[in-house]
Symmetry: C2
Subunit: 420 residues, 2 copies
């Protein structure tokens, strides 16, 4: 999947099922937020208007009814990222819950566009959530590393993109994924190792015209033909027979894709194509963006170190960055803060806590105390610093055990611990 780096336009809605006509329609408006796989820019300083996005993309809000059903069907309380609206949008999660209830198989698919530096905290969110979903559902997980995309979009050697993919795999593995249940693959390696995956790529490529990718992704005549055909590559893992080593000769096992909402254009396209190929549509669950330290107008960027907390940051760096850069919603002085209170809606430290603090009651207490002015900005930041230091410290500890051999094990084309 992608990091923001290029100018692109938005296509709009999910596509009427089966027709696909609307794939090429682009009704994005100048003063709308810009959200696509390469660009996320909010039009107001309040950040992205996610309700508007749901409407424009044609997805569904994760409402209380879905949260209730989730708990009833799985026996697990919804993850705090769901309850708090970080995962806020979805397509057909009910269908996945139906299957879970009926004990019918499905799988999870997510991915990542390799970055040259370390991953940052924002990158973690979909993986943390996906790992939790896998534990709840106990289903296979496939993770696509789009080193080919990285190579096509950036000024970078192909071999370097592949190397980055494997470095990134180490960080992903450090979150604690189970190698018996998880297949991580680099496109550059796996496409050349799996005729069925290539066959699916081709089948998808046959269904999509240049006009359509132009409408959905904003490609132009000056884009290289690799970019133009890339969307089929991100679509292909949605179909279980791209992984015969896991799913045998099955064609009808659907997947659930947890991802940030900027990746939705790929999967609107995929959902449009699926019935034409006789495959089930992927279901989706979308997250908001993890904001930059400087504020919610944009998401974290791996290329500006001061916007992000990295998985390689030391406890001291974490402390300094949060103290120095995390945009504050507090008063200008202690006196003013005590009097007027802080504004949680724009305070980045508070925002980060909603992503990272598991304890609902504690979080609510912090919100009240900060809003009333009882809790100072420095105290709020300290809460965040402790959580970040613990989270990242644990990952760094795990990371030491992730050798090249462990990566090979995750990336080996093999059966997983499931029978299909």
């Amino acid at each position: 999947m992608a990091e923001p780096n290029a100018v692109s336009q938005l296509a709009d809605m999910e596509l009427n099922d089966g027709t696909g006509d609307q794939l090429s329609k682009d009704t994005s408006v100048a003063d709308d937020d810009r959200v696509d796989p390469w660009t996320v820019v909010a039009s107001s300083e309040k950040g992205i208007d996610y309700d508007k996005l749901i409407k424009r993309f044609g997805s569904s809000k994760i409402d209380q009814a879905l949260l209730d059903r989730f708990e009833k069907v799985t026996g697990h309380k919804p993850h705090h990222l769901m309850k708090r609206g970080v995962f806020f949008s979805q397509r057909e999660v009910h269908r996945i819950l139906d299957r879970y209830e009926a004990k019918k198989p499905f799988f999870l698919y997510t991915g990542r566009g390799p970055s040259s530096g370390s991953m940052h905290v924002g990158h973690l969110i979909p993986f943390v959530f996906t790992k939790w979903l896998q534990e709840v559902f106990d289903v296979p997980l496939v993770i696509q590393l789009t080193d080919d995309e990285k190579f096509l979009w950036k000024d970078l050697k192909a071999e370097e993109a592949l190397r980055l993919a494997k470095e990134n795999a180490k960080e992903i593995i450090s979150l604690g994924f189970d190698s018996e249940k998880t297949f991580i693959f680099s496109n550059m390696e796996y496409i050349g190792s799996s005729p069925p995956f290539y066959m699916n790529m081709l089948k998808i490529q046959k269904c999509i015209t240049f006009n359509q990718v132009k409408g959905i992704f904003g490609f132009t005549d000056s884009d290289c033909i690799g970019k133009i055909s890339f969307p089929a590559i991100q679509a292909a893992p949605s179909f279980c027979n791209s992984f015969p080593q896991i799913f045998g000769n099955k064609k009808d096992i659907p997947c659930l894709i947890p991802c940030a909402i900027d990746q939705d254009p790929y999967f609107r396209m995929t959902r449009d194509v699926a019935p034409r190929l006789g495959y089930p549509k992927p279901a989706l669950i979308h997250s908001t963006f993890f904001p930059a330290l400087q504020g919610a107008q944009t998401k974290m960027s791996a290329s500006d170190p001061n916007t992000s907390i990295y998985l390689t940051d030391t406890p001291k760096q974490i402390k300094n960055k949060v103290n120095k850069y995390a945009f504050s919603g507090g008063g200008a002085s202690v006196e003013e803060h005590r009097e007027k209170g802080g504004n949680c809606d724009v305070d980045i430290s508070y925002q980060y806590l909603t992503f990272l603090m598991e304890d609902d009651e504690r979080l609510e207490q912090i919100r009240q105390d900060y809003t009333s002015g009882k809790l100072l900005t420095g105290e709020l930041k300290k809460e965040l610093i402790v959580i970040l230091q613990k989270l990242i410290g644990d990952i760094q500890e795990n990371r030491k055990k992730v050798t090249d051999d462990v990566v090979k094990d995750f990336m080996r084309v093999r059966k997983l611990k499931y029978n299909y």
Copy 2:
């Protein structure tokens, strides 16, 4: 490679080395012959004007100097297909002869777009010539079966395209190729079995914009993204490191590509890209088209059985087709023919003999006798029928020995009998 089936335009020239700017230039003119991978239509009934084509494509004529050098360097008299101008055009064959003289390695690459019926005699020509070149040079040969192209361009299931590729492989093998020296591959199978091949595809795809393939191949915004990125797939086998099982980790071994001139657009593009990727440019040797029985305005088509002699035709079918359909340059009556003589330039039976009859003196005698009126059309046709029956009978005899296992052997990813 391709059969004619779609409307397309021509790009024009070879590209100034290294710049590639001219790749997107299209200077084809309405009253020119149309020659591209999907369409071959002559603008006059004399057939394609090949001299004009050489000029437009920017290739070089195979002249007496090259024929002389070929004989001197290889110790073999040039093949009759070269001497008689069937292989009439080339790019950098001198460089390949330089390497042969210096005992430096190179390889041969040719290909075929699988057809649903049997191959016809026209399809044989590049293979007959390639086989001879392999015997002369004793170098590895790779043969690409573009089942993916077939799938993308035709209303056909992917699995069916792959099946056709393997059926076509049987006919190709029946021409007598040596499995120790020849690797035949289906794109659908091999691309999914060779990360280095996919890596080269990607690298090529990054160098070519939609604007460029539009100019070279006439693609439009309504074409599917599979077609748009396909040219990279036909380009990739030009580079030896697409076949590490044969060439180890070498990157600098060039190839010579024997093909019909309609495939040149792919390789003009490839030659433009090669230096940017640090690879040697492929050399080329181009053939004219094998005319349809009905006349030289177009080439044989696998889809109209009466334009072609198939490898599956019986001796009786061969005889009937030649007698019934082969366009005659003879007189309207025996008397007229005896008086005015026949016209070898338009007589299809005579044309076919120039492709198929090895004996130069005999062919010259036939030409003289037919031109003078001494030889009647029926007698000329008989000469051709005997040769076709023998050629196709021999292939049919070989074909019986080409089991599925033999095909597997040729298509297995493996070393060949060469050390690189």
